[in-house]
């Protein structure tokens, strides 16, 4: 029974001592898909990724990664996965070329020198190839890390917060690269805190307290949340923010520059509250809920359920 799922796991669980860090996650990711993992710090994203690439052994659950069993065939998985760690983990006292060459040797990449050269060119690192990795800025380090985890032509990329501390231009370049890889058939699982990055994924999943709360395309996730959002404009919004908090139907009040966004799952109740509290001159209009509003709302509800 051949499926085209690159990742196909069910009930994956990991406990550290008494604490359940990942709680029965089911996940299927198709070939060539860019799958985003959203979740606050400590929600189990990193632990889940480490289980997928054979760095941690799950305490429960089963499944396959690239067709290899995640419980018993970890060495096979390691060969075909490119894993980019959250923290830069190449050798700072070695040059870019030396780092790439080392990784290429470890994976026994055929035509190694050529592969290193190609990888340098692809990521436009060739002018810096003799620079020590430790001297690179965040964006260049990230580029090196991506080059290194691609050098053995992995079928699956696991990227753990790859763009943390990277400037917007470099981030955009990075995501262009990810999409290019995706069209080549490489599957990407990426964790992020940035909503704009989540919106560039084909599908996303939200994690909190080790539980997978929701998954689907960004639109599916947003609409399934059933969140209603109003935008309020006008004078003296600072006072209104304080007044709205804790009122009936109000779940989130977020200042957005010269407007505030007010969201809640009970649209009617929220609208009534807004009508009651908005001063003359303050106008409220229904708007589309953003992914961030949905995400925060999900986290708050998860806190009630699992926290």
């Amino acid at each position: 029974m051949k499926t085209d799922f690159v990742i196909d796991v069910a009930g994956v669980t990991k406990r550290f001592g008494a604490k359940t860090v990942v709680n029965g996650i089911d996940l299927q990711v198709e070939r060539g898909e860019i799958f985003g993992f959203l979740g606050p710090n400590g929600s189990g994203k990193t632990t889940f990724i480490r289980m997928l690439c054979g760095l941690l052994t799950p305490d429960g659950g089963s499944g396959t990664c690239l067709g290899h069993d995640i419980l018993t065939e970890q060495p096979l998985i390691k060969r075909e996965v490119g894993y980019m760690t959250q923290r830069f983990s190449y050798y700072e006292d070695m040059s870019i070329r030396e780092n790439l060459d080392f990784i290429a040797r470890i994976y026994a990449v055929p035509d190694r020198e050529e592969a290193v050269q190609r990888s340098l060119e692809q990521l436009r690192l060739q002018n810096r190839s003799h620079q020590l990795a430790g001297e690179l800025s965040g964006g260049w380090k990230q580029r090196l890390a991506l080059a290194a985890c691609l050098i053995h032509k992995p079928l699956l990329l696991l990227l753990d917060e790859p763009t943390a501390g990277v400037d917007p231009k470099a981030r955009r370049g990075f995501w262009d690269e990810i999409h290019r890889l995706s069209t080549e058939g490489i599957t990407v699982l990426v964790t992020t805190h940035y909503m704009d990055e989540a919106e560039r994924c084909h599908r996303i999943a939200c994690l909190a307290y080790g539980n997978l709360l929701v998954r689907g395309t960004v639109d599916e996730v947003v609409s399934s949340a059933g969140l209603a959002t109003w935008s309020v404009a006008g004078p003296d919004l600072g006072t209104l923010v304080g007044a709205l908090r804790g009122q009936a139907g109000v779940e989130q009040v977020v200042p957005f520059g010269n407007t505030i966004h007010v969201s809640g799952s009970d649209a009617a109740s929220l609208e009534a509250t807004l009508a009651r509290l908005c001063a003359p001159g303050q106008e409220f209009t229904r708007t589309v809920s953003g992914l961030e509003d949905v995400f925060i709302s999900l986290m708050d509800r998860a806190k009630d359920n699992f926290g």
Partner: protein
């Protein structure tokens, strides 16, 4: 603004205490190392080694012989562990280092005493370490003066007196001029290897972990054995450079005699280097950070240098310290180096010192590989 304030000072002091408490191993070492030093310097070290194993080669069985031997034992310096009449056997015992001295009672010893000829008892000493034999040899004069006086009664009384009825002649083998460097410089080879090899490799894996590169290495298909051996091999080359440097210095600066096979010494050095590297790698898998790794290396180095017979005579130490010393690879390597260079020992004679080092390598490698995990669990 920039004057000294007590609360800022106190903030730093408190922070240091909090961090000190968190790093249990470092805290333990701060208590453990002084205790270790107290034990080693206070109890284990003795610059006046007694009860040195000696062989007795008897060519005369007379009463004076018995009295003399008894007196030598009573001095506390000589323990007769073997009595034989075979020259080949005593030769072997001293080369192996099983005995420190061979006491040769000559033919006609009793007759010569009676004739007042002050017969000479030949004491052969393994003087590779002058510090080990010095006090015992010094004691011989006093023994000679009065040793058999109580047998010299009646008409024999006239034989009493200074310088005594018997005399000792000492042959210091292997290092006849008692040149300390001849003992120290070859020993230094082992000490230098222990110090550098253990520390360098103790840092090897700890550094990977501390810098976060370990996670990456673990995510690749590389096997623990490949990592360990891969980290050891370059330093074996470094170890050989050290061995060569010390041998050159020994030869041209200190004029240390090199009687035995240098090739054999190089071959055995490989095992000893491996022992230290394996130990270092094992520390590396145990330590949480580089500081701990260095402390562990120091914790290993201290007994190695003090209990191996490098600094102080091995036989001067109490039995427990000798046991500890016996477990350390440096103890055996020192005997091998000194044996090969000064005594001209060959494979046959150094064999008894090789297998303990091999055992040490096997055990520490096993612990290291077991401790090195392929996952982050």
């Amino acid at each position: 603004m920039h004057r000294f304030t007590f609360h800022r000072l106190w903030a730093v002091v408190m922070k240091e205490f909090i961090q000190m408490r968190r790093d249990r191993v470092t805290f333990g070492m701060m208590i453990g190392i002084p205790l270790l030093q107290l034990m080693l310097f206070g109890y284990a070290i003795n610059s006046d080694p007694k009860h040195l194993p000696s062989a007795l080669r008897l060519a005369d069985q007379g009463p004076f012989t018995r009295t003399l031997v008894a007196e030598m034992q009573n001095s506390g310096y000589f323990d007769i562990v073997r009595i034989t009449d075979s020259e080949a056997e005593v030769e072997r015992l001293i080369r192996l280092g099983t005995v420190q001295f061979v006491v040769n009672i000559p033919d006609d010893f009793t007759r010569d005493v009676l004739r007042g000829e002050r017969p000479a008892v030949l004491v052969e000493a393994d003087a590779t370490d002058p510090a080990a034999t010095g006090p015992a040899i010094a004691a011989l004069n006093a023994i000679a003066a009065t040793a058999i006086d109580r047998d010299l009664t009646g008409p024999l009384r006239r034989l009493r007196g200074v310088p005594g009825a018997v005399s000792f002649e000492v042959h210091a083998h292997y290092n006849p001029e008692n040149i300390t460097q001849f003992n120290v410089v070859p020993g230094l080879m082992g000490v230098v290897l222990t110090m550098t090899m253990v520390i360098i490799t103790a840092l090897a894996i700890t550094r990977e972990r501390e810098r976060g590169t370990m996670e990456n290495l673990l995510a690749t298909p590389v096997r623990p054995f490949e990592v360990m051996v891969g980290k050891i091999l370059p330093y074996i080359a470094v170890g050989y450079v050290q061995v060569t440097l010390i041998l050159i210095a020994a030869k041209f600066l200190f004029h240390v005699p090199m009687v035995g096979s240098i090739g054999l010494l190089y071959a055995i050095s490989l095992l000893f280097i491996a022992a230290n590297l394996a130990m270092g790698i094992t520390f590396s898998t145990l330590a949480k950070n580089q500081l701990q790794a260095v402390q562990m290396a120091f914790f290993f180095f201290l007994p190695s240098i003090l209990l191996s017979g490098f600094m102080f005579p091995f036989r001067g130490m109490p039995e427990w310290a000798q046991w500890v010393g016996t477990c350390l690879p440096l103890t055996h390597f020192l005997r091998i180096v000194r044996g090969i260079l000064l005594k001209g020992n060959g494979m046959g004679e150094v064999m008894p010192e090789i297998w303990p080092i091999a055992l040490f390598v096997a055990v520490s490698m096993a612990v290291g590989v077991k401790r090195y995990r392929q996952t982050l669990d």
